[in-house]
């Protein structure tokens, strides 16, 4: 049992390499820890807090906590499920998420994670914020009502596409996603469907125009199997109902 270091996750030994986080090591070992702002292709952000785990009895975000030999990590406990459910419910009431009317329903990571943690209703009082929809771009539409502030599009556009199209402005509950042009319109940017930023949204905020309901409800990504089996929508190829344009 010498050589590779490991930690235990819900009793299971998880090997890791130096420099990996708890999340990265768990995913590599095929163990799912629910997450939204984490995407294995990007530097961890730690903002959604859905991946909370108990590391040696302390609450930590799995995506930002370095793995260390001998750690005891708890993930699938009722306590953590309840906290995660609460955080998901917060995300749902903060924006305007109307799943039955959303083209992304069934292939939405937010919805799938919500089901995974056992969330059946938003529970908290809805904020009903007034947010616009931006349909100025010929190929894509942004519905800010569904934004959960994960900043994946911000990171993808800045770090991968080199376009820096998105940003977050404001503070506290006023913080919101913006498009980086004087008009604030996506149509005025060089945004393209081939951008990484077009493929990373875990909700239905950034949608492709002209192709609605290609896959019927009932046959969508998460309709038959849960997210811990299927994986993240952004990590799956288009042919499997994912976002990746291979």
């Amino acid at each position: 049992m010498s050589g590779e270091p490991s930690f235990t996750l819900d009793g299971q030994q998880i090997p890791f390499q130096e420099g990996q986080t708890v999340m990265q090591a768990a995913l590599e070992a095929g163990v799912y820890i629910p997450h939204l702002c984490f995407n294995p292709e990007f530097t961890p952000h730690g903002s959604c807090r859905v991946c909370l785990v108990k590391v040696n009895n302390r609450m930590q975000a799995a995506c930002t906590t370095p793995a260390a030999g001998g750690q005891t990590v708890q993930s699938e406990t009722e306590e953590l499920r309840e906290i995660r459910r609460g955080i998901l419910q917060m995300l749902f009431v903060e924006g305007n998420h109307v799943c039955p009317a959303c083209e992304k329903s069934g292939a939405c990571q937010l919805q799938a994670v919500a089901y995974y943690v056992g969330m059946l209703a938003p529970h908290f009082k809805h904020f009903y914020p007034r947010r616009p929809v931006d349909a100025s771009h010929p190929d894509a539409v942004i519905d800010f009502n569904r934004c959960i502030m994960c900043e994946l599009c911000v990171r993808a556009s800045r770090d991968v596409d080199g376009k820096n199209i998105f940003a977050v402005e404001g503070r506290g509950i006023q913080a919101h996603l913006v498009v980086n042009t004087p008009s604030g319109q996506l149509g005025a940017t060089g945004f393209s469907l081939h951008d990484k930023a077009a493929q990373v949204c875990p909700t239905g905020s950034i949608l492709t125009k002209h192709r609605g309901y290609d896959i019927p409800i009932g046959q969508r990504l998460y309709d038959r199997k849960p997210i811990n089996v299927v994986g993240d929508v952004a990590q799956l190829p288009d042919s499997q109902g994912g976002r990746r344009h291979d």
């Binding site: 859905v50 909370l52 370095p66 955080i87 917060m90 995300l91 009082k125 404001g170 506290g172 509950i173």
Partner: protein
Amino acid sequence: MAESSMLTETIRDIVQHHGGMPTRLLQILRDVQDRLTWLSPETLERVAEELSISPNKVRSVAEFYSFLYTTPRGRYDILFSDNITDRMLGNRELLHYLCSRLKVSIGETRADGLVTVGTTSCTGMCDQGPAALVNGYTLTRLNPSRLDGIANLIESRIPLAEWPRELFEVYSNLRRADILLGRHFADGSALRAGLKRGPEAIMEEMVKSGLRGQGGAGFGSAAKWISCRNAPGNVKYVVCNADEGEPGTFKDRVLMQDFADLVFEGMTLCGRVIGAQHGFVYLRGEYRYMLNPLKAILQRRREAGLLGEAILGDASFNFDIEIHLGAGAYVCGEESALIESLEGKHGVPRIRPPFPTTHGYLNKPTVVNNVETFAAAAKIAVEGGDWFASRGTAQSKGTKLLSVSGDCERPGIYEYPFGITVHQVLEDCGAHDAQGIQMAGPAGHMISAQQFGRRICFEDLATGGSFMVFDQKRDILDGVRNFAHFFVHESCGFCTPCRVGTSLMRDLIDKVHTGHGTRYDLEEMCKLGRIMQAGCHCGLGQTAPNPVLDSLDQFPEAYERRLRSTAYEPAFDLNAALEEARQLTGRSDPGAYLNEEDLLVGAMP
């Protein structure tokens, strides 16, 4: 066109004055706003151009800080401090009084662009409130006659520089001194001791002293200095956290105002020990009135050979200090958010580890200490670690400055050895009828009279220094509600449980406060509080539910008497929801209200 080139000129001058450095962005925006009263989209674009950075970076900073305005403000911008201690002293009545004198609504700019009147978080003048800021400068001890004078000055468009000085007078109210403030300190003595004995010996004294971070977190100061000293790299930084934002705290203000040499000397000594040549004081925006006096003290120290190059004639001892002014963001008191702000960004706390001692300012090893910690370090260098450790308790050596305010006869600064009981403090400050104390500010703990025997130290009641007294005639829920609104305003918005949770908590406490709460709502508050404590990214969100959870535990009767007997009450107010329909139909007759009681509420201004 001429106007636009003048704008470019103005901005170019300011940017050049700051060396064209993007790390100075917050300072640049403050200066630009001073000149133009607000930051228009065009202004922000120009600043970005002059600094050659992306416009969204500039906008995100401008949108983040409370004291930066992206909508037009009056030439006179008045912000009433709205801490619970200001409220106890009647600030709301005064706010309404001034608004009616100036014929302006709260938070709005008067049509002629002359004046704006609004509110802001605690300005650190709790011992001499109600307080306010005018164009960022502190006004104290407000009352109707002072406000009459202020209204006249504004209507007559008298420049701020010509306003009577007594309006801006800030008292120190130093009520009790112990070893830190009681004994005279000779400028330069700590540096001389440092040079004579060497960095290792100073660190040894620091270890012996047992000094812990006086901002409230209590991390061992020697361990921090040693870790930073041992961190690889030639460029290191010393940062003094003077972003004293915790409501009810004002001891750092008094230290900076009356003991700045002691603080600067502690920073310089730290620079010598860890091998840093550059220090920053992050001074909270609310203490702007101190900026020029502090700069003058720094200059005097340079001239005396206590700062700058070849300190005390030692060619190997170079260290200088720069003051960075905040702009109204409580979260910047968190050390990694403070560093972000120093770098010219919006203040979102970083992911830790790595910690600032290895990856701080510009990712270089950095010591961030509280004002009081640096002051104590300077004294320890002179008097020795044993001297400091002779006061206090086993785990909490030395003394602590308390900022005492609220319902007591003698509010002000009290220096005590660690281990003092709450009861003793109450007796000394003349609080004869206390029902509770908000200890260490809203992020700390609320305790009731049964616990006044507890001791102030890290083993028992840890504190950064805030001590707010509520007497028997106060409604505890007024305080809880004030704190809940404070956290909504100060959440940075980065992580979900704080961004959303603070608003949910505010709505729940408002619901109970207005008599619409039920037992179910109290359970909801507990559940929500637990999620925030467990899940938030930084200390702000983790401690934000404390006032609610503590008061539920310590003052259940304050809730009980307001509860509806029903098991459940909807979160929305049906009568209020009908208001839009009433306005659309122009109805105000009794039939348009659900019942008589609502008619009265609805008719209120």
